[in-house]
C-alpha cells in the first residue's frame, strides 16, 4: 500500500519529457519532487506562473510569488508571469499537457467530484472545472477509500460534479486504474496489495486483466 508520497512517486512516472504540467493542491503538489532529473518539464500554476521552481529559501520569500495553493514559491530560469485570463487560456486552449488533481469521488465513466459536499462543505471549484473541462490527459491522485472506509471509485458520483467523462487515469494508495469504456480498468497493484483487496475497495465496475503487475516505483 502506498502513502501520499508513494502515490506522487508513481504519478511522476506519467510525466513525459517536454510536458507542461498543472498540479493541483495536496498529493499532486508532491509529484514535482519525484520527476526524473533527466527530462524537461515545466510546471504551470493557474494563478499565473509557468516555470514554477521549488519553495524559496528563508531569505527569498516573496508575498508576490505564490502558487495556486497560496504557498510561497520560486521561479526557474525561463519562467514567465501572466494574468488569470491568459493562464486559463493555456488551460482551456489545451496547451497544458497533463493535469494532476485530487478528487472526492470518481465514477467509472470518468466523472469527477471534488468541490462541494451539499450542506456541509463548500470550498469552491477554483480552477478545477476549467482544468477537467479542457485537459486531454487528466490523472486523479487520491486515496482509494474515504476516512469512513467507503470507496471513492463509484458507479456514479453522489456529490456535485466537477466534470463529466474527463478522467483518464487514477492513481490511489492501492492501484493504478484507467477509465475505459465505462469501467475502471485495473492496470497495476500497489506493492503488497492483492487484486482482491482492490476489488473490495472499488464500488464501480472494474475490468481486471488476467495478469495485473505490481507497480514499479
Amino acid at each position: 500500500m502506498l502513502d501520499k508520497n508513494g502515490i506522487a512517486q508513481r504519478i511522476a512516472k506519467e510525466v513525459k519529457d517536454g510536458y507542461y504540467v498543472n498540479l493541483g493542491i495536496g498529493i499532486p503538489t508532491l509529484v514535482a519532487n519525484f520527476v526524473r532529473d533527466d527530462i524537461e518539464v515545466e510546471f504551470q500554476s493557474e494563478n499565473g506562473i509557468l516555470g514554477m521552481g521549488p519553495f524559496p529559501l528563508e531569505n527569498e520569500v516573496d508575498p508576490d510569488l505564490i502558487n495556486a495553493g497560496k504557498q510561497t514559491i520560486t521561479a526557474r530560469p525561463g519562467a514567465s508571469f501572466f494574468d488569470s485570463a491568459m493562464s486559463f487560456g493555456m488551460i482551456r486552449g489545451q496547451h497544458v499537457d497533463l493535469t494532476i488533481l485530487g478528487a472526492m469521488e470518481v465514477s467509472q465513466d470518468g466523472d469527477i467530484a471534488n468541490w462541494k459536499i451539499p450542506g456541509k462543505m463548500v470550498k469552491g471549484m477554483g480552477g478545477a472545472m476549467d482544468l477537467v473541462g479542457s485537459a486531454e490527459h487528466i490523472i486523479v491522485a487520491m486515496m482509494h477509500t474515504n476516512k469512513a472506509g467507503a470507496s471513492k471509485l463509484l458507479k456514479s458520483c453522489s456529490l456535485p460534479l466537477t466534470g463529466v467523462k474527463c478522467v483518464t487515469k487514477i492513481v490511489t494508495n492501492l492501484a493504478v486504474l484507467e477509465v475505459a469504456n465505462g469501467k475502471f480498468k485495473l492496470l497495476e497493484r500497489a506493492p503488497g496489495v492483492s487484486v482482491e483487496e482492490i476489488k473490495n475497495a472499488t464500488e464501480g465496475e472494474m475490468l481486471v486483466p488476467n495478469d495485473v503487475p505490481e507497480m514499479q516505483l
Binding site: S45, E46, N47, G48, I49, P54, F55, P56, L57, E58, V61, D62, P63, D64, L65, I66, N67, A68, G69, K70, Q71, T72, I73, A75, F81, F82, D83, S84, A85, S87, F88, I91, R92, D111, W115, K116, G119, M121, V122, K123, G124, M125, G126, G127, A128, M129, D130, G133, S134, P160, L161, T162, G163, V164, K165
Partner: protein, 231 residues
Amino acid sequence: MIKKVVANATEALEGVEDDMTFMLGGFGLSGIAENSIAELVRRNVKNVTCISNNAGVDDFGLGLLLQKKQIKKMISSYVGENAEFERQMLSGELEVDLIPQGTLAERCRAAQNGIPAFYTPAGYGTEVAEGKEVREFNGKPHIMEHAFKADFAFVKAWKGDEAGNLIFKGTARNFNPNMCGAAKITVVEVEELVKPGELDPNFVHIPGIFVQRIYQGKNYEKRIEQRTVRK
C-alpha cells in the same frame, strides 16, 4: 496627459454606494487592493456584491467586509480559507455564486473588451451549467457565459504612472489586469506612482485608457497565507 491621479483611497472611492457591484483583484491575499478594501470598511457601504476569486481570510482582505456584514453576495471560485464566509453561506445570510476560475477571469476580460458573451467547456454537465445555454462546437458541449457588469473595479498594481499605465509584479498580477476597464470606474492603487515616461511603453501591462483613478497606496501588509520554505 489625462488627469487620473487622486490623493488617497477616500478620494478614489468617491461615488461608492450601497447595493453596488464591485470587482476586486487578487488571488488569495496576493495582489489585493488593501487600501481600497480598508476604505470600503471605513465607508461601511452595505449590501454590496463582490466579484473576487477569493473572499479573503477571517481578519484580512474581503474577510474584513464579511465580518461587518457589508456583503450581500459573493461571486467567486474558491472560498475555502474563511470560516466566517462558510458560516454566513451555510446559514443563508450570504448569497454565493461559485463559478469556475477561468470563467471568472474570462468574464472580466470580456467586460473589459466589449465581448458580451462567449462559450467555454468549463462546467458543462455540472451545477454551473444549470439554466445556461449549451451548444456544441467541434463535437464538444460548451456553455455560454456573459461578461460581468460592475460599478467599480478595485485593482492593485505594483507600479503605475500618472497616465494610468500599470505594471504588476509576479503572481500578484492574477485577476488585476483583467478587471481594469471591466467596471464603470476602475480605481487602482499602486506601490509606486511615477511620472509619465518613466515606464517603458513596451512593458506596460495595462494601458491607462482602462483606468479612471489612480493613487499611491500605503502601509502594504502583503500577508502570506502559506509560508513554505526549503532549507
